[in-house]
């Protein structure tokens, strides 16, 4: 156990030390992780196939998986519900805990916030990022990091903005924690 944990800790330390030269690393860490996991899962599949205990008791394995999975999800949801109701968290409080400029980089807005009414919007429709910033002089967050906003939060024609689902923040949008789609 300690060997694996020690290697994990060494990896974190190595990652922290490599941060200044992160942009020079040509190998994709997330892809490397994924390929190794695929290899290991494939080998694990071979072992599972060879092991008659797995194939013979497949129903039991599946039952246990559903039992543990079901109760662990249920347990976490119930405890979170209790925790939230005890602390009386609301979404306003949640927003206050996060600096606005950081929140903006993560959250995709439903609609452009550049105008008060649709009539005004049709007259003054900003076309570039610079226009967006100028249109919101009081919004400091927009001024300090215009490059973090992707096209998903840019102004769109009003009819399209209401019809199109908002996209997820992409890799350039702030907290890109990346790397483990293979969960």
């Amino acid at each position: 156990m300690w060997i694996v944990l020690s290697i994990f800790a060494v990896g974190i330390l190595l990652g922290v030390l490599l941060r200044p030269v992160k942009h020079k690393i040509k190998v994709s860490i997330s892809k490397t992780t994924f390929y190794i996991i695929v290899l290991l899962v494939f080998l694990m599949g071979i072992q599972a196939g060879e092991n008659h205990a797995v194939t013979k008791h497949l129903g039991e394995v599946l039952g246990n998986a559903l039992l543990i999975g079901g109760f662990s999800v249920l347990g976490s949801m119930l405890l979170v519900k209790l925790f939230v109701s005890y602390n009386k968290f609301d979404i306003g409080r949640l927003n206050n805990l996060v600096p606005e400029n950081n929140l903006e980089s993560l959250i995709v807005k439903e609609e452009p916030v550049l105008h008060e009414s649709s009539d005004e919007a049709s007259e003054v429709q900003p076309e570039t990022m610079d226009d967006v910033v100028l249109a919101e002089p009081e919004n400091e967050a927009s001024e300090v990091q215009p490059e973090t906003m992707d096209e998903g939060v840019m102004a769109e024609p009003e009819s399209e903005a209401s019809a199109v689902q908002p996209e997820m923040p992409d890799d350039d949008a702030g907290l890109n924690t990346n790397n483990k789609d293979e969960k």
Binding site: I29, E50, A53, G75
Partner: protein
């Protein structure tokens, strides 16, 4: 979901090859898998260390909300213990190690396979896959009956990537950053907890 499919196909393909027994014995007797696992842990560690934004996210929350991922973890472990009541043949350490995979099925099953063998590892793989699939399919119902915070809880470690879009859609944009924060913390904790529980909590 593409990666999930590839991993599922890799497991099924491996299982078929295993069933018809055409694998050279040397693959498993040489300890090669263990060394590959060590490389995996190193690479996962490097990716966590390199990810400056993830660490920044962990510093954003103050007060009780900072404990949010730990509450999810606590609920998961309690749920895993409850599962042992329904199946007395289930070892508590197995249930805890499988539960503490928190939806990170690929890594947790590989870690469990290394110590507890194929049966527990296959259970871990299926159990944690179930968690992810359940979250993806039932998010609107989860919000209805358990509130908007519960989708993040259901997603576990996957709430920072795979289930993040569904959290955003079902709970709301305001929950996205908490979802990322929670996912990051739990992802870092998964390998540690799985190892601790699967090793029988020995110091």
């Amino acid at each position: 979901m593409k990666e999930s499919k590839i991993i599922t196909i890799a497991f099924i393909l491996g299982a078929i090859i295993g069933l018809i027994s055409i694998t050279p014995e040397v693959v498993f007797t040489s300890g090669a898998m263990e060394y590959v696992l060590y490389v995996l842990m190193l690479v996962v560690g490097v990716s966590v260390g390199l990810d400056r934004d993830a660490l920044v996210a962990m510093k954003r929350f103050r007060g009780p909300l900072m404990l949010f991922p730990l509450v999810i973890l606590g609920g998961t472990l309690i749920g895993s213990l409850v599962a042992c009541i329904f199946n007395p043949y289930l070892l508590i350490t197995d249930a805890l190690s499988i539960g503490s995979g928190m939806g990170y099925y690929s890594l947790s099953s590989v870690l469990i396979n290394n110590v507890r063998g194929e049966v527990a590892a296959t259970t871990a793989l299926l159990s944690n896959m179930f968690r992810e699939i359940f979250t993806l399919l039932s998010a609107p119902l989860i919000v209805k009956y358990f509130g908007p915070f519960a989708t993040i809880a259901a997603g576990g470690a996957t709430s920072m990537d795979t289930t993040l879009p569904i959290v955003q859609r079902s709970s709301g944009n305001e929950y996205t950053i908490l979802s990322v924060y929670s996912g990051v913390v739990l992802t870092v904790l998964v390998p540690i907890l799985v190892q601790v529980f699967v090793g029988g909590i020995r110091i």
